[in-house]
Symmetry: C2
Subunit: 219 residues, 2 copies
DNA sequence: ACAAATCGGTTGTATTTACAACAGAAAGAG
DNA sequence: CTCTTTCTGTTGTAAATACAACCGATTTGT
């Protein structure tokens, strides 16, 4: 697990904590490393979760499939991001979504109780991690609201514009790559892939956007 | 402000804290009481927010109107619930939504910095409030994900079923009242009111549900 | 290099939705 | 009580979407 410490150091959870301290905390937080291959489930809907996970390699999707096989991608987890902070509260129930590895992935699990109850050994940086966790969950909250704002658009075109505008703002550029292929983008925006593809091409023909594979540009 | 202490005592934020302690903390947290009449905005999109608010009377909607006048209600705040926890992080930017009083409302604002930095006066219950805040934001996170799961349904009917099922589960009963009128429910689910009304009546005629005003039953 | 699988675009049709307009019922104001 | 406003249901039409089916291009595995 040692080899992932430099990656952990750059995560939001361990922001402001040195590599030596992280090494020391791995025991304190009962860290466990798990490897998943592409297509494997990390967690399944209905499971009980008492750990927080930090992705140190690969890519995950937080998603849910309904009775009719419609998949919706709630969120995407990239290297350095975490998942499970929303389930730290005592009576938070079971997991509402699946967590799927969409690439070969490496995940480190941390014991939640060890994080939110300050350890008697008083590792000096524990309180920093707690505050980091707080800010992280707060940020994820804002991102969920943001997703809700473009999910609440009525038409596919409006959803696309809202999403692409947001990505452009996030990248500080009118050109950017999105982390989805067409099917995944459709699942993320909860629309039909072919209808979306159709709309994208119309928007391109109208001179609103340009794109090639995952690279998009706003005009 | 003293008269609201019994209400504050029953809120999630002050869970486990006695009335005397709450009284003492009002200063420590620089509490400010504000009154709003129905239809008045508590906060507007774009504002900078460095306070957490707790609703002690009335009802609020977290909402957003787009260019074309389509309103979407992101969330509803009832007495005892709070808003603004997602903006406590230092670089969380400005408010993405409006906060509207849909009834005459009483709101108490608390200084965020005072909450997340433990005060030197060491008020004994401060750490409890911090943990409560943590659990609250974590719970709100789960609720947002839940809303995303039924917002991601394709048809109005599916959205209605997902929403009503959730409410039934929450009330532990097949009969329950919803906190919205038709227009508000449509705004909450991001669908057209008349189309939704139509769909509701179809579902009633098919024997799936029954309703009268805000009272719904699943059959 | 070849076969298989994945991906993205296109088209047509049936379904669903948005929008506007209207009417009766209920609630609220004076 | 009466007038006004709000709320809810209804209808018709134009627009948008879902779904299925297909094809060519690209990628992947062997």
């Amino acid at each position: 697990m040692k080899e992932f410490i430099p990656i952990l150091k750059r995560t939001q959870l361990f922001s402001g904590v040195g590599e030596e301290e992280i090494g020391a905390m791995l025991n304190c937080l009962q860290a466990k490393l798990c490897i998943y291959i592409k297509g494997e489930y990390v967690l399944r809907q209905g499971e009980h979760l008492d750990k927080i996970l930090v992705l140190v390699g690969g890519k995950l999707h937080i998603q849910r499939d309904d009775y009719w096989g419609n998949r919706s991608i709630i969120n995407m987890i990239s290297v350095g991001e975490m998942f499970g902070e929303a389930y730290v509260a005592p009576e938070s129930g079971t997991l509402m979504n699946d967590v799927l590895a969409v690439e070969d992935s490496a995940v480190i699990f941390f014991d939640v109780k060890r994080i939110i109850t300050v350890c008697s050994a008083a590792c000096r940086f524990h309180s920093i991690v707690v505050q980091n966790l707080f800010f992280a969950i707060s940020e994820k909250n804002r991102k969920l609201v943001q997703k809700l704002t473009f999910m609440s658009k009525r038409t596919t075109r409006e959803k696309l514009i809202a999403y692409l505008s947001e990505e452009a703002k996030r990248h500080n550029s009118n050109e950017f790559c999105i982390p989805f292929n067409r099917q995944q983008l459709a699942d993320f925006l909860s629309v039909d892939r072919s209808a979306m593809s159709n709309e994208l091409c119309k928007m391109r023909d109208e001179g609103l956007i340009c794109f090639e594979k995952n690279r998009f540009g706003l005009l």
